[in-house]
């Protein structure tokens, strides 16, 4: 199947002697797919999104959107002519227009008022049509921004940190709503997030960015359990980097630049923790518990072994104390 | 720091009045005056401080300063203003043998509150070639429809025009003066604007055929450094109106000693000096004004315009009729 969006070795540098903000990034996006770009601040993820939207002009590389080549040597399609819409992080609602005027602002939105009204209903903001942006809540503003973008029926929807302004308790709800909406409107979406939870919950595939480079592309599960480097592994939460020689049978490992060793990423909940005496198999590590923290759903143990300090989670029912000797081995499912 | 010192120096300048100096509020901003003031200082050792401004503002200021005013002398370019200053009580009558000799009676206040210094005639200038001087006769004639769209005169805010109209009111009565002003305004080729010099330029350029201006402006034009100005002076002719009647309208530029003067003696000496025949020559040579005794004129340029009969109306009438003249202009729509 032909990709809807094809990005080929795109690069963008701000300022003469700066590091590239986006450095030879390539990826594809299929029709109907939801793609997340994740990375720390300054990793170039927002710039990548803006390059696709046409708001920045790349020095090198090609972008193809559907059948149209939007960027390439000597080619630049201005944003107003691209078949994609962007939902801004701060929503960028026009403060001088009502909600209704905002959502009908898009060039092609006026041609299908019925669909736009439906979108308003779907997002439950029909009642707000006559209000101004400063008269509605943050969550409502976000939905207005979303509807405004969708109203143009873009083949690709770009979202910049769509959930960053929302309260944690709202987020889960909104994630589900967004996914529903994408499904119902059959939208292909590409969103940027610094929060890997968003990415894991919503995306079909994840692109991990670091210092302008796309260092890993894969399904959330892949990226989570089989990171290609220390940065990616840490981006998705707490983990332990265990030298490969300690766990030779590990199904996935990578070369860690910091220790210059092959290492295995083992999440704290992937350990099996056993009392000291039951020392048996060869792929085990032993150590002494240096701290126990109650985390509600589990206990987080800090275990000092000969060469390193390991985090491991155990059920709260266990009676582990500081100073206990324990043996660990990873469970690979 | 230096500038601060300078500020304090100037702050105090308004407060102390030195005996060896006189302070002059002057509307006159001519080179001739600077030359003469300097000469006076050299001859007498009395320093002359000048503040220039429009006569109206200076009078207003003298009124508000009252007896504390530092001014010793007020110089203006119009008898009407001198009269108004006298009415406002800011001038004091002075008597001086020399002044009485230097200034003819019609050119000074009967009580000696002010003395004329120079005389300017308000005349008609015409485009040589396009206008036959035979066609011209009087100010009143400018209201005739034959001058339709051929006339240029400056704004009625100008005191020379106000005094001219005051003299017409005095001669013909208010009603005739109003219809005259209306007709003249209608004959103007453009709305009044600019100085007398601009009116002369309009005649030279062909926009207008006749204009009403003060004579010394022609002198300035004829002696200008700019070739275009000299060309203007060549192209226009001077006509003294009302020679068969009351005579051409004249006005004086003059001055008086202020009531607040702390140095009356030097102030009178100053006026005497300005009306001396030596100074009078300077005025007519440098500024092309007529001497206060018109017949004593010795400047070649002024002679070339010929001798004329001047309106003998008492100049203080121009002052007392001035507000009436201004209102008449307003009613006539003469801006």
């Amino acid at each position: 199947m032909k990709a809807l969006l094809a990005v080929g070795e795109i690069s963008k540098t701000f300022g003469a002697n700066e590091q590239p903000a986006v450095d030879e990034v390539s990826f594809d996006c299929q029709k109907g797919e939801v793609l997340a770009i994740v990375g720390g601040s300054g990793s170039g993820k927002t710039t990548l999104l803006r390059l696709i939207a046409g708001l920045e002009i790349p020095e090198l590389g090609e972008i193809k959107l559907g059948e149209v080549k939007t960027n390439g040597p000597g080619t630049f399609l201005p944003p107003e002519k691209r078949d994609c819409a962007l939902v801004f992080q701060d929503y960028a609602l026009f403060p001088n227009m009502t909600v209704e005027q905002n959502v009908f602002f898009g060039k092609t939105a006026k041609q299908r008022p019925e669909q736009v009204r439906k979108l308003l209903q779907l997002t439950k903001i029909s009642d707000l049509a006559k209000r101004f942006p400063h008269q509605i809540s943050g969550g409502e503003q976000q939905r207005v921004a979303l509807v405004r973008a969708l109203a143009t029926q873009p083949s690709l929807l770009l979202l910049d940190e769509p959930l960053s302004h929302l309260d944690p308790e709202l987020r889960d709800n909104v994630r589900a709503q967004l996914l529903n909406l994408f499904k119902e409107t059959r939208t292909t979406a590409l969103f940027v997030s610094h929060d890997t939870e968003d990415a894991m919950a919503m995306a079909d595939r994840v692109i991990v960015m670091r210092q302008g480079q796309a260092i890993q592309v894969g399904t959330p599960a892949e990226v989570y359990s089989k990171p290609l480097d220390r940065y990616t592994a840490l981006l998705f939460g707490k983990t332990n980097f265990v030298p490969l020689d300690l766990i030779p049978n590990a199904p996935h490992h990578f070369h860690d630049e910091r220790s210059n060793k092959e290492v295995v990423s083992i999440r704290p909940h992937d350990w099996q923790v056993i009392e000291k005496d039951s020392d048996s198999s060869n792929s085990t590590i032993s150590g002494k518990v240096s701290s126990v923290r109650y985390k509600g759903t589990h206990l987080e143990l800090k275990i000092e072994s000969e060469s390193m300090c390991i985090l491991a989670n155990v059920e709260t029912s266990r009676t582990v104390k500081e100073g206990d000797g324990v043996t660990l081995f990873p469970s690979f499912d | 720091m230096k500038s601060l010192l300078a500020i304090f120096f100037f702050l105090s300048a308004g407060l102390c009045v030195n005996a060896a100096e006189i302070n002059v509020y002057s509307h006159r901003h001519y080179d001739s005056d600077a030359v003469l003031f300097k000469k006076f200082s050299q001859q007498t050792g009395v320093q002359v401080n000048v503040i220039k401004g429009s006569a109206d503002q200076l009078i207003q200021r003298l009124i508000s300063e009252g007896k504390n005013s530092p001014a010793d002398i007020l110089l203006t370019v119009d008898a009407g203003r001198l009269h108004r200053a006298k009415e406002a009580g800011i001038l004091q009558p002075v008597e001086s043998e020399t002044l009485s000799q230097n200034v003819p009676e019609s050119m000074r206040d009967p009580e000696g509150s002010w003395y004329g210094m120079t005389v300017r005639a308000r005349v008609i200038v015409y485009a040589k070639g396009r206008v036959n001087p035979e066609e011209l006769s009087s100010y009143e004639d400018l209201a005739s429809s034959k001058w339709r769209a051929r006339l240029a005169v400056r704004s009625s805010s100008n005191i020379y025009n106000q005094s001219l109209l005051a003299s017409i009111i005095a001669a013909n009565g208010p009603a005739k003066a109003l219809s005259w002003a209306k007709a003249v305004r209608k004959n103007m080729v453009r709305a009044p604007r600019g100085s007398d010099r601009d009116q002369a330029r309009a005649v030279a350029s062909g926009l207008a055929d006749v204009a009403v201006i003060n004579t010394y402006y022609l002198g300035i034009l004829a002696n200008s450094t700019s070739a275009a100005d000299r060309e203007v002076a060549r192209k226009v002719g001077v006509f003294f109106p009302n020679q068969n009647g009351r005579g051409a309208h004249v006005n004086v530029s003059g001055g008086g000693v202020t009531r607040s003067s702390k140095n009356k003696k030097d102030a009178i000496r100053f006026l005497e000096f300005l009306t001396s025949s030596e100074s009078q020559q300077t005025f007519s040579a440098v500024n092309y004004e007529y001497p206060v005794k018109i017949e004593n004129n010795r400047s070649d340029l002024l002679k070339s315009w010929g001798s004329f009969k001047a309106d003998k109306v008492n100049l203080s009438i121009l002052g007392s009729r001035n507000p009436e003249a201004v209102k008449t202009f307003d009613r006539a729509g003469w801006e």
Binding site: - | S3, I7, I51, Q60, S157, R193, S205, K327
Partner: protein
């Protein structure tokens, strides 16, 4: 222009702030008024009222009997109104068109020379209107000369059409004056519109682009409506400057209100009539400010101070770029290049005649006067703003608003106000107030306090309000708070305020003309004197000095506005 680093709506020289936020200030009026009386607030109240009294004495004459009032009403009042309105509307229209289009081009488009235009377009601000009028003194005459054949033809061939031709000739003065005034006043609109465009800049315009809108449609549907408050603020500055002008309108023969005030005062010798006209003019401007204020509060949207992202400007093709350059060049040429060019041409002929030791004194006078008044005004503004903010005294808030009214009235009216108050004082106190530099400085204080007050006050609001509360709770004395916290934090605002006042006093004419002391001439009074004697070439030397001295602070202020933080 305003203090650097402002993200708050930057509304020029502050006049628009004159009637701000009365609600908060009045909320605890009465109770707070008395309780907050202390040495500081008392001093601030007294100073504020002292500055306001002369203006109040003018307003008080709104109904005073005048012997000539009927006459004025019957004859000239309508023409003063008509001329003022025509001139103001035309000048504002031209200024807005030039200012807004240039601001849009330099902030949202990319074309060769854009960076240079960005700052060079503010330069006409250094040219006072009366000097611009002299630079164009013969423009009207030249146009008239072109019409001479028509006049002559009509005179001989078609007498019945003479009225039309004369009307046409008469009306020429309006467009010419508008053009001359707008060409040096448009930077007010340009500066504020540019700040607004670059603030709204990135996000909203980008959003509109991704929604498929062309630059044209974005300009009219997004950028322009959003910039409206800024444009209105700039336009109101243009209105005030236009009504303030005396030299240019007199030169081109337009009888505006300011002209009428002088005529009534001097020609009719009717001070109370003139004062009544002045009060009427003041009332008119004040109501304009109120309307502007209401319009602004109607448009509730706050512009966000979001400079974070460099904006991807529209890249113009060869045709577009040529047009853009032409569009920027027109106002720049009319407002700066031609005046400066003509002045320097004349100056090259006459500088030998004019430049002597007295000229050095002239420059020193102008500079020291401008520096001294800047210091005085910035100090007063800082004290008043601090006293109002630190003690949250409603009384001081009110007197502060009253004290800055002077900027909205023409300099000539301020001078009249001073005369009105100083006259009786002269007589009763036996001290000579008029004609001393002290009075002149006080007059400047009345006229230009708002210029310094606005950046200082908003600088304090942004940087110091919270910290003042903190220092109050730490039991620090007000003096310590002022010296150790407020002054260091608002230093950029203080600089901006000082420079703005400096620029304005250097350019000032009517006030200085009426109130200056003996033998005291500044560059602008000298220029006026010389031009009054039609010594245009000679006047070009002091005129050029003013422009050259003022250009530097103008450019500096522009850069401060461009690169906030």
């Amino acid at each position: 222009m305003t203090e650097p680093g402002g993200s708050k709506t930057q509304n020029g020289t502050g006049l628009t702030l004159i009637l701000t936020s009365p609600k908060r200030n009045l909320s605890n009026f009465g109770r707070g008024f008395l309780f907050k009386l202390n040495g500081w607030t008392l001093a601030a109240l007294v100073i504020g009222l002292l500055i306001f009294i002369p203006m109040a004495s003018v307003l008080w004459h709104l109904t005073s009997p005048s012997e000539n009032w009927r006459h004025l009403e019957e004859t000239v009042l309508t023409s003063y109104l008509k001329d003022s309105l025509i001139l103001v509307l035309g000048t504002v229209f031209l200024s807005v068109v030039a200012g807004v289009s240039c601001a849009w081009l330099v902030s949202c488009c990319e074309f060769p020379g854009r960076k240079i235009f960005e700052w060079i377009l503010v330069l006409p601000l250094a040219v006072p209107t009366f000097i611009a009028a002299y630079a164009y003194f013969d423009l009207l005459a030249i146009i008239e000369e072109k019409m001479i054949p028509l006049v002559i033809w009509t005179r001989t061939n078609s007498v019945e059409d003479l009225d039309t031709v004369i009307f046409l000739l008469d009306s020429l003065k309006y467009p010419v004056t508008m053009l001359v005034m707008a060409s040096v006043l448009y930077p007010y609109v340009y500066l504020l519109a540019r700040a607004s465009f670059s603030r709204q800049g990135s996000q909203l315009i980008e959003a509109a682009r991704t929604l498929g809108h062309s630059p044209r449609s974005i300009f009219f549907r997004v950028a322009l409506p959003l910039a409206r408050p800024a444009i209105v603020a700039g336009a109101s500055l243009v209105v005030m400057e236009t009504l303030n002008d005396y030299g240019a309108v007199k030169h081109f023969g337009i009888s505006t209100f300011t002209n009428g005030i002088f005529r009534t005062w001097f020609a009719l010798n009717d001070l109370s009539g003139a004062l009544r006209l002045a009060a009427l003019l003041m009332l008119f401007i004040l109501s304009l400010l109120v309307v502007e204020r209401l319009l602004r509060s109607g448009a509730k949207f706050e512009e966000k101070g979001n400079f974070a992202r460099p904006f991807q400007r529209y890249r113009l093709g060869p045709t577009g770029a040529t047009l853009a350059i032409a569009c920027c060049l027109v106002p720049l040429t009319c407002g700066f290049l031609i005046p400066l060019g003509r002045l320097s041409l004349w100056a090259s002929d006459s500088y030998r005649k004019i430049l002597d030791s007295s000229f050095v004194e002239l420059v020193a006078n102008s500079l020291s006067l401008a520096v001294a008044s800047s210091l005085l005004i910035v100090l007063t503004a800082t004290f008043l703003a601090f006293a109002g903010r630190y003690f949250k005294s409603p009384g001081v808030h009110i007197t502060n608003r009253l004290a800055i009214l002077g900027y909205s009235v023409p300099g000539a009216v301020v001078a009249m106000a001073i005369m009105l108050v100083a006259g009786p004082l002269n007589l009763t106190l036996g001290i000579l107030l008029t004609g001393s530099l002290l009075t002149l400085l006080f007059a400047y204080l009345i006229r230009f306090l708002a210029v310094a007050w606005q950046p200082v006050d908003s600088g304090m609001e942004k940087n110091c309000d919270l910290l003042n509360e903190a220092s109050q709770s730490l039991k620090a004395s007000p003096l310590v708070s002022l010296l150790k916290i407020n002054l260091p934090l608002i230093r950029p605002s203080l600089w901006a305020a000082g420079l703005l006042v400096f620029v304005d006093t250097m350019k000032e004419l009517p006030l200085t003309l009426i109130l200056r002391p003996f033998n005291f001439e500044t560059l602008s009074t000298r220029t006026y004197d010389l031009t009054n004697q039609a010594q245009i070439p000679e006047s070009s030397v002091p005129a050029m000095c003013i422009i050259l001295v003022v250009v530097f602070p103008v450019v500096w202020l522009n850069r401060k506005m461009e690169a906030p933080k």
